[in-house]
Subunit: 87 residues, 2 copies
């Protein structure tokens, strides 16, 4: 993996992660989880965990970085859905 490839990877990582975090923040502040579906969130969480394992297997720093953050944030969405969805 050369430097150019990792620069592309980290640019992608920062952009897609930064686009996802406001959703987590918005859900946390508004406590509005009506638009989120639990099966979808769990599917997404398992999928991102898969990408994280994939990133580790191919030794990709940018994939490990991006998916580690997204695993945590998608877990938070599951937690919010479970907490606020029961009212």
């Amino acid at each position: 993996m050369d430097n150019f490839t990792e620069i592309i990877g980290f640019t992608a990582a920062i952009l897609t992660t930064a686009a996802f975090l406001p959703q987590v923040y918005k859900t946390w502040k508004s406590k509005d989880v009506s638009g989120l579906s639990m099966p979808m969130l769990i599917m997404f969480f398992i999928g991102i965990t898969g990408w994280l394992i994939y990133g580790i297997l191919i030794h990709s720093p940018s994939m490990i970085f991006a998916n580690a953050i997204t695993v945590v944030s998608s877990f938070l969405l599951i937690y919010f859905k479970n907490k606020y969805g029961k009212k």
Copy 2:
């Protein structure tokens, strides 16, 4: 890249892509784009394009597969936002 790695990758690809498509479908049917922010969509689109290029550079079939689909679907969200957001 061995078979086991690509099985993990394709599992991840199918799960994250499948979790994203209902959002595109919901937006298309409801024409409700109020929850979508254009700068965020554009950031996400450029980010996914970056992951697609990254997947090509590292010769990862599962990353190319997943991100090619997501590039198209995030472009559709930008198109819907532009079309329905102007009413």
